[in-house]
Amino acid sequence: MHALVVDDSRAIRSVISRMLREMGYSVTEAGNGREALDKLATGELPDLALVDWNMPVMDGFALLCELRADPRHAEMRIMMVTTETEIERMQAALGAGANEYLMKPFTPDALREKLGILGLATAA
């Protein structure tokens, strides 16, 4: 299983990536939505994308909309991982095609449980 982690904080990318690798995922990281799209154009298509909302250049919601508009990514599970905690934001993300929503801060157990909901708890 392959995951794409998109977050402008290198520290948070690193924490999420480590959690995913411990679950058996291979991971690609990107610092914003534009960088994520560039990496997707040339690299392996991920099974899962974990996407921050607030990022420079291209934010996570714009990335979500781009991914859902591209049929090549129709199967990709997308989870917003963000400090945005308003219900309206969640509704907007789910309405735009996000499969799950995880609020920061979160524990490794919370991430594992959300992946369980998506049927992706283990990458094995």
């Binding site: 219900i87 969640m90 789910l94 996000a98 799950e100 524990t107 919370a110 449980e113 959300k114 909901i117």
Partner: protein, 273 residues
């Protein structure tokens, strides 16, 4: 973190917990004492576990004793914990019982329901799949711990708690923001009844249950207490009812009147034929 208890103090605390709540703590679970009671020390302004035990020994049963029992019997929980039991509930068990009952409401019991994530999960499953039956059904939550039952009744959860296992579409649909917390909507809260209950002591006045959840609870009791609890649960259940235990728990050599069965990806118990 407080220094650990000496062996004599630890033995006294184990005996106290066993006598008052039938909770079995052995040396393998000594870490639980430290992790569960450290917040109690802070809350009560007590310097160490040794001082706490000394107070418990010195004084007659009071709020400190109750607080220790509550802290030791609160189980960590999450929404949709282990997922599969709730899939089996939605896909197989509820349709079966609703058909048998002709659409009447169901009685569902969450024994040792802790802070309410399991009963509210059941309420969401029922509400999503069978809204008419949900409106006529009751979910009975019992626990030895009054504080967790008050929290269940209030239906207020922190962000960290709603992050645990709750699918985002369910959060958006069944919760409202209340300040920094998340409040379960009234349509689910009115399905819930709470009652203080020590499972180790015979109970009365329990309705006939269609489904019982007692997951990861029996592991804390010795064999004789397990037999007694399961026997009394059996008498409180409809003959065609379903009993859920934790994934690693079994009724082997505990109660031969229950038979293990597999429904979907879940293993659970029904009355033996």
């Amino acid at each position: 973190m407080s220094p650990p208890l000496d062996p004599q103090e630890f033995t006294w605390l184990c005996t106290f917990l066993r006598t008052e709540s039938a909770l079995v703590i052995d040396e393998a679970k000594e870490y639980l004492v430290n992790t569960r009671l450290s917040p109690v020390l802070k809350e009560l302004g007590i310097k160490s576990l040794s001082e706490l035990v000394a107070q418990l020994r010195r004084r007659p049963m009071n709020k400190v004793h109750q607080r220790v029992i509550e802290a030791m019997t609160t189980n960590e929980t999450s929404f949709f914990r282990d997922l599969h039991p709730f899939e089996s509930l939605r896909n197989d068990i509820l349709p079966d019982l609703i058909k048998k009952r002709g659409g009447a409401g169901l009685n569902i019991w969450c024994a040792a329901s802790s802070t309410g994530q399991e009963p509210y999960t059941i309420a969401m499953v029922l509400r999503e799949a069978f809204p008419d039956v949900a409106a006529r059904s009751r979910i009975f939550c019992t626990d030895i711990n009054t504080l967790v039952l008050e929290r269940t009744k209030a239906g207020l959860y922190t962000q960290l708690e709603v992050n645990r296992g709750l699918p985002a579409p369910m959060l958006v649909k069944y919760f409202e923001r209340k300040g920094q917390e998340w409040h379960v909507k009234e349509e689910l809260r009115r399905m819930i009844d709470t009652r203080v209950m020590n499972l180790a002591i015979p109970w009365t006045g329990v309705a006939m249950m269609d489904i019982v959840f007692i997951r990861n609870v029996l592991i804390y009791f010795d064999v004789e207490t397990k037999k007694s609890i399961v026997g009394r649960i059996r008498k409180s259940m409809a003959t065609d009812g379903y009993l859920f235990l934790g994934g690693a728990e079994s009724l082997l050599n505990i109660d031969n009147d229950f038979a293990r069965t597999t429904v979907g990806k879940s293993t659970l118990y029904k009355r033996a034929a």
